[in-house]
């Protein structure tokens, strides 16, 4: 369970050169809600930027402007988050750093990531030499390789593709067999089939629905109104 108590989140209107005095935009205002961590939850409603900021808040990448968040489960960092990878160190050393950070067996994690990420010789090379897509993939693989109770995904569900093969997808399926997930950017076609609950973020308010049909209808209405503006 992730419990938000009177949580507000505002972000600087311009991210470049933002200081404490930069004007801010509200994404979440005085929200109290409990989000289950053992369900498949899709996040709808807000703009992509707002949804990502909210998921970063749930994942602990961003701290709330006000209020407290209690995480009564092992919550993953948002899959694909690039965080504090060291550009000078090899990919292997970076993965070892994660094992130490998240208190998992180092050798097992390195072996699993090496097998799933399919980086070949690049696994021994400095992380900074990876292409940006490879960096995102690696972050996803590391996220799925660590057994969390709930996974946070900012860019939809991973799909098997030619570039990455099926390993990442299979690892994700295996993990989410038992763990929950909170996903932004899920395709509406899959939502009814795959998800059990829906979170709608709109104008600083957040609501959790377990009636999928109603929530999808509501989210489409919100999106339609936003497009009229």
């Amino acid at each position: 369970m992730i419990i938000l108590r009177d949580v507000s989140l505002s972000v600087p209107q311009t991210r470049k050169k933002a200081t404490t005095l930069t004007a801010r935009r509200t994404i979440l205002s005085d929200t109290t809600i409990s989000i289950p961590t053992d369900r498949r939850i899709a996040l709808l409603g807000g703009s992509n930027q707002d949804n990502t900021a909210f998921l970063n808040l749930l994942g602990g990448v961003v701290i709330p402007s006000r209020g407290t968040i209690s995480r009564l489960a092992k919550v993953s960092f948002p899959a694909g988050h690039l965080g504090s990878f060291s550009h000078e160190l090899s990919v292997r050393s970076n993965v070892a750093h994660f094992a130490r950070l998240y208190d998992v067996d180092r050798k097992s994690l390195i072996a699993l990531v090496e097998r799933v990420a399919h980086l070949g010789p690049a696994f021994e090379e400095p992380y900074g030499r990876l292409k940006s897509l490879q960096k995102r993939d690696l972050s996803q693989v590391i996220s799925f390789s660590i057994p969390f109770d709930v996974y946070i995904l900012c860019s939809g569900l991973p799909q098997p593709d030619k570039r990455r093969g099926e390993n990442v997808y299979n690892l994700f399926l295996e993990r989410t067999r038992h763990a929950g997930m909170i996903v932004q950017g899920a395709n509406l076609r899959y939502i009814k089939k795959y998800f059990e609950m829906i979170l709608i973020l709109h104008q600083g308010k957040l609501r959790l629905f377990d009636d999928i049909d109603y929530a999808v209808h509501l989210a489409q209405k919100v999106k339609f109104r936003a497009s009229l503006k």
Partner: protein, 287 residues
């Protein structure tokens, strides 16, 4: 019972190897929350950050060494200038090199530790890492660098120039270094918060930190200065740190200006104000 109703540990035991991907090999950390487990996790995070910091340095050994050159170059310049002026006598003791080295060493420990406090936004970190963790790692790694530099530098002076370089009393030496390190930690936090408010502050701080060398007693013995000048420079806490360091090297170093209580008050105030400002600016760094 559905499998997701099980505890993570039980789920882990259930993990098999479907689709050719083995995931059951990784263990799940303890779920029970207590002070002990929290402390254990915190220490794990700190050790992970420290290990990575030192691994990073191994990849750029020359860069780390170059960063330590500034006090050595300054020492060389001051001594060279003194010789050019045809003044070979040391302001105190028998060795000119030892006198200036014992002034620059604690002062530069303060400068290097207080600068570049890691202040990246949370986006540049992972949720388990906090800004304060990075700051502690920065302080520890800088202190380690400086202890190594001190051992090498004063060892060199001891072997080739004067046996006086071996402190006759290590207690004031350690006290002075600890005070300068703590003062640097506090000032670094304050400076970091000011940089968050005004971007140009870091450039002012760079100049300010170095210009304070003039009034920190590294280039002269404060007690030998005119009373008025001595009175005004005694407000600088670094002067007391430098004087305390020298009392461990020179047995009869004048202690008229030295006030350990004043230095302690500064250390406590700097750390308190620094931590409060870090706390205040922590939420505003949400980007």
């Amino acid at each position: 019972m559905r499998s997701r109703d099980l505890t993570p540990r039980a789920q882990q035991r259930l993990s098999t190897e479907p689709n050719g991907v083995a995931v059951g090999v990784l263990s799940v950390a303890a779920e029970v929350k207590s002070f002990g487990t929290d402390l254990r996790r915190y220490l794990k995070v700190m050790s992970a950050l420290l290990i990575r910091e030192f691994e990073n340095r191994k990849h750029e050994p020359f860069l780390s060494a170059l960063e330590l050159l500034e006090p050595i170059v300054l020492l060389g310049t001051v001594i060279g200038f003194k010789y050019l002026m045809d003044s070979h006598s040391s302001p105190y003791g028998t060795s000119v090199v030892l006198f200036y080295a014992s002034g620059f060493y604690p002062k530069y420990l303060w400068i290097w530790t207080s600068r570049y406090m890691p202040q990246g936004t949370p986006r540049k970190r992972f949720p388990t890492e906090q800004r304060l963790d990075y700051i502690f790692v920065h302080v520890v790694s800088n202190a380690t660098d400086y202890i190594v530099l001190g051992l090498l530098g004063f060892g060199f002076i001891y072997l080739f120039l004067t046996p006086q370089a071996l402190p006759f009393d290590f207690v004031p030496v350690f006290e002075a270094l600890a005070a300068m390190l703590a003062l640097a930690f506090g000032w670094g936090l304050i400076s970091m918060a000011l940089t968050r408010l005004f971007r140009f502050w870091k450039f002012i701080a760079m100049g300010l930190n170095r210009s304070l060398i003039i009034i920190s007693g590294a280039l002269y013995v404060p007690d030998f200065m005119p009373p008025d000048f001595r009175y005004w420079i005694s407000f600088n806490p670094m002067l007391h740190g430098v004087a305390l360091f020298r009392t461990g090297i020179y047995p009869t170093f004048p202690k008229l200006v030295l006030d350990k209580t004043y230095l302690t008050h500064w250390v406590i105030a700097a750390i308190l104000i620094g931590l409060v400002l870090e706390r205040v600016t922590r939420r505003s760094e949400t980007v």
